[in-house]
């Protein structure tokens, strides 16, 4: 093999197209399509008394206006509850168009199809809805108090109460020499991909087939849902996911109402129909995440070793539960991070509020869990007067303890059993990156300049690469080019590059000759989706396995053609040769030979025609073989593989203005073997940026009546490039996973997980006052200073 691609910093091949603006997104498909727009509830909680669409009917250019009354059969039923769980006793999902009641501002009520989006929006303005207002339940406190109910038939607003334990935490805490209790809170944020949701559909009446292009993280999931709701067979529905301008979790939710209404409209109207979500809609009708309140009881020894940990938390899942309990289950399990408490008990309530639904956003419950655990570690260190890193170190699972069973059930219904890791080595690296041991010198030097600085550290473990499976199909063309299809979707991760690296290595072909197709059910109808940092682990492994199969076949055919032994062959740059000889055959020719022909179509194909090839006494295609140089395989892991990382941040908190400046941000990350360090670092950069957003800028500002006050990029403060650290220092550790053939672990979400935990620790360290709620703004820090008198006096 020439150069090994796995582990190389290969420039992303997709970027030339994407950064030049020649990506092809859903909105670029079918420019002649009719446009849909959705009437959304202006109220957080109301009964719909009547809907009058008469004024719309005579608007020129309007082709359809529907309310729930216009839906039939399965379309008139609630949307699917995607991930049921035994403890989700009161799961509720919305209708594609609201039936009788709306439960959050932004809920879909009516659907208009018109010549263009302008006319469609004009039409929406003419629909008259009479509402009977109901009291809105906003925020976790209101949900817990349950003075008012979101759904009349859900007592206490509780959709689920779930509990897990490992050992007797209460007894361990009672017997511990030291105890602490903490109350910790995280607010809502959201994924906010550059491209919002979008769907285009076209119905072919001659073939009775539906084609759907949608901006999703699961084209197979949408396909199954559309088929079920529209009463079609899977074979009648193709779902194609073109370029996706970011997902971050929100697009794993499916089917969105529009993903069903657009195909239905295309079928009913016989025209291509398009829905392109705008930014305001994205704020009020997609999904949010993160809001949770936590109460921690912890017992520990003189060294800071956690003997018992009891966490009770309340999760605000918004108005409905389409994605089940995934987020709070992840918090409740991944909270443990790299630590091994003597005993652990966790219980959560998943609560309804009259707000936008909550589904996984990059990190998916882990940022909250990490915040809780790391704040607890810092509190223990403060209580004992010990170094914060030392307290963490005594609680680490040690390298020789893997596989380590945390004794809980993870989000995939399988054991929370860590496969590998080396947390002490990682801690040593992060301490070195931020010069941990000399920070007090730095603090003193800054103090001499009148400046206040602080250092924070946060550690996490991330279960990645959850099942059930992914598959891949590899096809070597007679040109020697390699076409690879995997079913999960891409939304900017660099799959074209990383997967091609895997194929190039395994097949011995040039990286440039590999073309990857993702998210197209015509090419790979069996797939799950892109979420939970699983694409590299799942599809990467499947592609590796499929390439291996293809290679075996290529070598078998080449051995025949070259009259050599398979073991003596090698493939380099797409040419199979007998090692140490001139005898060789290009893979393209092997592909020609793999497909016995009756008819030649060019010079090369003559070699495969019936008078030129094969043993005339045997069938041209053997009984256990098939024509073509192709290979297909699936990868299905026993359970998740656990990546890990540690972040450290140094901040300056302005003595006068309480502004929070990032002086240094350092990351040590372990995702097993790296396919492409440049892509992994890019993932970390993006994650850190979102971590900065979640810690210092972003929140969903709901008022008491359930109106979202900052539903625009003017007031919802995503960090700009100017707010993100100009450089992020990254070091890698490579502890391979024993669970997959490439030894890899997921890297997609990692960068965001410890953001709030690390910033809270750094600000607390700078200010010497407890930080128990995130995000934090300068205005809030100023208010905190005012309530903590000693420091208030110190800062004049």
């Amino acid at each position: 093999m020439t150069t090994k691609m796995m582990g190389a910093k290969v420039q992303r091949v997709e970027d030339d197209r994407l950064v030049r603006g020649t990506g092809r997104y859903v909105d670029d498909v079918a420019p002649d399509a009719l446009h849909a727009a959705v009437l959304r509830s202006p109220h957080a909680h109301a009964r719909i008394v009547s809907i009058d669409v008469d004024a719309v009917l005579d608007v020129e250019g309007v082709h359809a206006v529907w309310t729930h009354e216009d839906l039939e059969g399965a379309m008139a039923e609630p949307l699917p509850l995607l991930i049921p769980h035994p403890t989700l006793t009161h799961g509720r999902t919305q209708y594609a168009l609201a039936k009788d009641e709306v439960n959050h501002v932004g809920e879909a009520i009516a659907f208009v199809v018109a010549d263009d989006r302008y006319v469609a929006e004009d039409a929406l303005a003419r629909i008259v809805v009479e509402y009977e207002l109901l009291p809105a339940v906003v925020g976790i406190e209101a949900a817990r108090t349950a003075t008012h109910l979101v759904h009349d038939d859900v007592p206490g607003n509780v959709a689920a109460r779930m509990e897990q334990s490992n050992g007797d935490a209460a007894a361990a805490i009672a017997a511990a020499p030291h105890t602490l209790s903490l109350d910790l809170k995280i607010e809502r944020s959201a994924c906010m991909p550059m491209e919002g949701r979008g769907t285009v559909a076209r119905w072919d009446p001659d073939q009775n087939r539906l084609q759907v292009w949608t901006s999703t993280q699961t084209s197979t999931g949408v396909r199954a849902a559309v088929a079920a709701k529209l009463g079609l067979d899977l074979g009648q529905v193709d779902v194609i996911t073109p370029d996706v301008g970011g997902g971050f979790g929100v697009k794993i939710v499916h089917p969105w109402p529009e993903e069903l209404l657009v195909p239905l409209a295309a079928q009913r109207l016989g025209r291509a129909v398009k829905f392109t979500e705008d930014r305001r809609e994205h704020f009020i009708s997609s999904a949010h995440e993160r809001a949770q309140m936590h109460h921690v009881e912890v017992g520990f020894d003189d060294e800071g070793r956690v003997l018992g940990l009891d966490v009770r938390f309340w999760h605000d899942h918004g108005a409905y539960t389409p994605y089940g309990l995934i987020v709070p289950i992840i918090t409740s399990t991944q909270l443990l991070g790299p630590y091994k408490p003597g005993a652990y008990h966790v219980q959560f309530d998943s609560l309804y509020t009259n707000t936008v639904i909550v589904t996984p956003y990059r990190g998916a419950g882990r940022p909250q869990g990490c915040f809780v655990m790391e704040r607890t570690m810092d509190a223990i260190a403060a209580e004992l007067g010990k170094d914060r890193a030392d307290v963490r170190a005594v609680n680490f699972i040690q390298p020789d303890e893997f596989p380590y069973d945390q004794g809980l059930i993870f989000q995939d219904g399988r054991e929370l059993k860590y496969d590998s890791g080396d947390y002490p080595a990682m801690l040593a690296k992060i301490k070195e990156l931020v010069d941990w041991d000399h920070f007090e010198d730095f603090r003193a030097a800054k103090a001499a300049e009148g400046k206040r600085v602080g250092l924070g550290l946060a550690c996490y473990v991330e279960g990645t690469g959850v099942g059930p499976y992914e598959g891949a199909h590899v096809h070597i063309e007679t040109s020697g080019k390699v076409k690879v299809a995997t079913g999960l979707t891409s939304q900017g991760q660099g799959h074209q590059t990383a997967f091609a690296q895997i194929v190039a290595d395994e097949l011995g072909v040039r990286f440039e000759d590999v073309e990857i197709t993702t998210g197209d059910t015509r090419r790979m109808p069996y797939a799950v989706g892109t979420f939970a940092s699983r694409a590299a682990v799942m599809s990467g492994s499947a592609i590796h396995l499929a390439a291996k199969r293809t290679k075996e076949k290529a070598l078998r055919i080449a051995a025949d053609a070259l009259e050599a032994d398979v073991d003596d062959l090698e493939i380099v740059d797409g040419v199979v040769s007998v090692k140490g000889t001139d005898s060789s055959i290009p893979l393209g020719t092997v592909a020609v030979l793999s497909n016995p022909l009756r008819y030649a179509f060019d010079e090369a194909s003559k070699a495969a025609t019936q008078f030129n090839v094969g043993d005339p006494t045997k069938p041209p295609v053997a009984e256990d073989d098939e024509p073509g140089l192709e290979g297909k395989d699936f990868y299905s892991p026993p359970r998740s593989t656990f990546a890990s990382g540690m972040h450290a941040v140094i901040v300056e908190t302005d003595v006068e203005t309480a502004e929070i400046r990032i002086l240094k941000y350092a990351v040590v990350h372990d995702c097993g073997h790296l396919i492409n360090p440049m892509i992994v670092e890019g993932q970390i950069h993006g994650g850190v940026a979102q971590g900065v957003g979640g810690a210092l800028y972003e929140r969903m500002a709901y008022d008491e009546s359930g109106q979202l006050l900052n539903a625009s990029f003017m007031d919802f403060l995503m960090p700009y490039v100017t707010e993100v650290p100009a450089s992020i220092e990254i070091d890698h550790l490579e502890t391979p996973s024993p669970l997959n053939p490439l030894g890899i672990k997921g890297a997609g979400e990692a960068g965001v997980i410890p953001g709030s935990a690390a910033f809270a620790a750094a600000i607390e360290d700078a200010e010497r006052l407890p930080i128990t709620a995130m995000p934090i703004s300068p205005s809030e820090l100023f208010a905190l200073r005012a309530t903590h008198a000693p420091h208030a006096q110190e800062s004049k």
């Binding site: 989006r117 302008y118 929006e121 004009d122 303005a125 705008d278 930014r279 305001r280 006068e656 203005t657 309480a658 502004e659 800028y697 500002a701 006050l709 900052n710 625009s712 003017m714 007031d715 403060l717 960090p719 700009y720 100017t722 707010e723 703004s777 300068p778 205005s779 100023f782 208010a783 005012a786």
Partner: protein, 289 residues
């Protein structure tokens, strides 16, 4: 996020533009469109007619005259910001402009448009008031000059009549022996500030003889406060504290989702001290050069 239907006219002369405005009480003038177009798209404004003035002649200028800088209605922020003569004659203009939104918005947005949009969180209305500049407007009855202190009458409300078009702003030159400074604190780079303060300080020797400060985002119209008396010639800590006290009496910060009223008031205090000190030092330097 698509605008409601509107008519669009793009006149070639000022007279035609004025006629178009006069003929439609619901008309709005479009110049750079950086505030108006988002309002249209979110259907927060639904004017019947947009009168696009981008084809009008003789309005795209930045001209330095004997006593100051004259900025035409079609001059983009970016053009004003990069004009070295403007920086020489009135350095506060580029200091403030650098804080107006982001480069892409400054490429399209006009300084005069920002002045008539009359946002108390915007930089240029406050600067015009602080410098005691003026705005020339054309109307059916001819041109008139509105002094800056008569321009702002309420939140997002100027004293322009509906049938008038702002054609040129005048920012007076910085007199000798004077210095300026500007600082604002925003949640993110380029955002509307939680508080911003600019100062003009005149000195004789090391003594302050005149000082005033302008404030944005801490009152419902751009506010200017004379600090001369409070400073009583000095910029020591006591004088600065007294100046901030005087300023805060005239400000009325409000709480919103980004900052509390207390915090904004605190920032006004901190920034008053910072910009008055900086302007004082600049004035001293200017005096010595």
């Amino acid at each position: 996020m698509k605008p409601a239907p509107f008519d669009y006219v793009r006149p070639g002369t000022l007279e035609e533009a004025l006629q178009a405005l006069a003929g439609h009480p619901e008309a709005k003038v479009l110049a750079g469109g950086q505030s108006l177009v988002p309002l249209l798209s979110m259907r927060l404004a639904a004017p019947a007619v947009l009168v696009d003035i981008n084809d009008l002649p003789d309005l795209d200028h930045v001209r330095v005259v004997a006593d100051g800088v004259r900025i035409g209605a079609l001059a983009r922020h970016a053009a004003v910001l990069r004009d070295p003569d403007v920086a020489r004659v009135q350095p506060l203009v580029p200091l403030a402009l650098a804080n107006v939104a982001h480069a892409t918005i400054r490429n399209r947005g006009t300084t005069v448009g920002s002045l008539v949009h009359a946002d108390a969180a915007a930089e240029m209305p406050m600067v015009l008031r602080l410098l005691e500049g003026s705005l020339d407007v054309a109307g059916p009855g001819g041109r008139r000059t509105i002094p800056a202190d008569e321009l702002y009458v309420g939140p997002l409300e100027s004293s322009l009549h509906h049938d008038e078009i702002a054609v040129e702003a005048f920012f007076p030159a910085l007199p000798g022996g004077s210095g300026v400074a500007f600082e604002e604190i925003a949640r993110r780079h380029g955002d509307y500030a939680m508080c911003g303060v600019a100062a003009v300080v005149a000195v004789e020797g090391d003594r302050v003889v005149k000082a005033s400060a302008g404030y944005l985002s801490v009152s419902d119209i751009p506010t200017v406060v004379d600090l001369t008396e409070a400073l009583d010639g000095s910029v020591d800590d006591t004088a600065l504290a007294a100046a901030a006290d005087v300023a805060l009496e005239q400000l009325d910060p409000e709480t919103d989702i980004h900052a509390t009223a207390d915090y904004r008031a605190h920032l006004a205090r901190v920034l008053t001290a910072r910009v008055v000190t900086a302007a004082y030092e600049n004035a001293r330097e200017e005096q010595q050069s």
